[in-house]
């Protein structure tokens, strides 16, 4: 944030390190063992956890531990141009990084040869859907009584020209092309140790800026973790003020 760029004001009037209004809730899908909803502004994700349960086909079973199987999907109406349902290159990638981001904190040794299914659906997309999905997924896992070391929280950070920002929206993520253009760098951090369980980079950035973004992500994840905690304790959080 030290350097002056041409991106001096955010498209939705937020401060550079401000999150969008959060919505968070658990128990949205009573059929699941655990479930949660998490929204960053207009990006809404729900996650449902089933299991641990027997895993088939058998060759996927691990004799020493269970596995997590995440399944990320965008609903057809979540974006303006209909998203074709079913797995795609992109959704498979996000499912995989979600699996890795969540597996890091879950005790999988308790039930060897089983699977914990985490189904993530994006109801509405406005960038940072993978982060909303991971946040909802972590809450759903906790809600399902899965033994976990700690929680994880995920946030996208990025660079608009030379300005560092947190929690990108659609415009910032893909429609901003001025100056140095936009860079998207989502982080997933653990709640106690600020350990990174997921990190991606889409665009260009300098090593020094990555460290700065990590600091910003730490602060943002602390806040997100607080929302997750409050929601798990029974609160229905909805900060969605009119922002139309």
């Amino acid at each position: 944030m030290a350097e002056k760029g041409i991106y001096t004001k955010r498209s939705d009037g937020r401060k550079m390190d401000e999150l969008r209004p959060i919505r968070a809730e658990v128990g949205v899908v009573p059929n699941g063992v655990g479930s949660a909803l998490f929204a960053h502004g207009d990006t809404v994700a729900i996650a449902v956890v089933y299991g641990p349960k027997p895993l088939h086909p058998q060759h996927l079973q691990k004799p020493d531990r269970g596995i997590i199987r995440a399944n990320y999907n965008m609903l057809p109406f979540s974006v303006t141009e209909r998203a074709r349902p079913g797995p795609s290159r992109r959704s498979k990638e996000i499912s995989m990084i979600t699996e890795n981001a969540l597996s890091a904190v879950v005790d999988l040794t308790r039930f060897p040869g089983t699977v914990i299914d985490v189904e993530i659906l994006i109801l509405q997309a406005n960038a940072s859907t993978r982060c909303a999905g991971i946040n909802a997924g972590a809450m759903a896992l906790a809600h399902a009584g899965i033994v976990m070391k700690e929680m994880v929280a995920s946030v996208s950070t990025g660079k608009m020209d030379k300005t560092l920002v947190v929690d990108l929206n659609k415009y910032e993520d893909s429609d901003f092309h001025d100056g140095e253009g936009s860079t998207d760098l989502p982080f997933t951090l653990t709640s106690r140790g600020d350990m990174i369980t997921h990190l991606q980079l889409d665009g260009k950035t300098r090593p020094k800026e990555v460290l700065e973004l990590y600091e910003m992500a730490k602060k943002a994840c602390k806040k997100i973790n607080e929302y997750q905690m409050r929601a798990l304790k029974g609160e229905k959080i909805d900060e969605n003020q009119s922002k139309k």
Binding site: G51, G145, Q228
Partner: protein, 250 residues
Amino acid sequence: MDKEEKNTQDTKVEKTDVKKDSEASETDNKSKKERKLVIPGETIVSAEDHLPGDFTRNENGEIVASRYGLAETNGRVVKVIPISGVFEPRRGNTVIGRVVDINFSGWSIEIGGPYTAFLPLMECPRFIDRNNLQEFADIGDVLSLKTYGVKKGSIDLTLKSRGLGKLNGGRLIKINPHKVPRVIGKEGSMINLIKDNSKTEITVGQNGYVWIKGDDAGEQKAEAAIKLIEEEAANDGLTGKVEKFLGVKN
């Protein structure tokens, strides 16, 4: 004769459950004030004068929760009592299960836990034709059973205990297994209340499967009452609410 058998079977299953429950409710009363909802990774207390119990750990001088549930301090030991999650079978649990597969040596039975359980032919108390196992229990049939061996990755069941056997007719519903003690109530008070007022037979498995049999209206009433208990399990005045729902006059 069939009816008679069903009745004794029913009460028997109840009794085994009741014993567990009265133990649980005793600890309930002792430390009600100490309970606090915690989430994984949350610090419960300092480890200076506390020790980590179930689902907690000592991390850098702090007692930290590893599971979503109610933190309870019992003397110096802090533990987390789970309030959600799939059924985790222990030896001696009375459960209700559904047959999913049959092979030459017994039945595979789904009991809602992380693993499919197995009922060996030898653990069935009456004579069964080795070549015709489905005559006794076919795929899809519901049985009340007891877990007698729980090892990592395999659960063995038995029918060799009083009150266990096949459940014919009626309906099977599923509730959160952690709420089963509330459905049974102290010494079976809650479940008897429902039984008496809906004129049904009810068997509650520790795995959260509940089998109800009676006339249609009674079954519906009992099911709704059990769902009500599941929803309100954490709140005070549960018996009063259920009585009101069932229309009991004092």
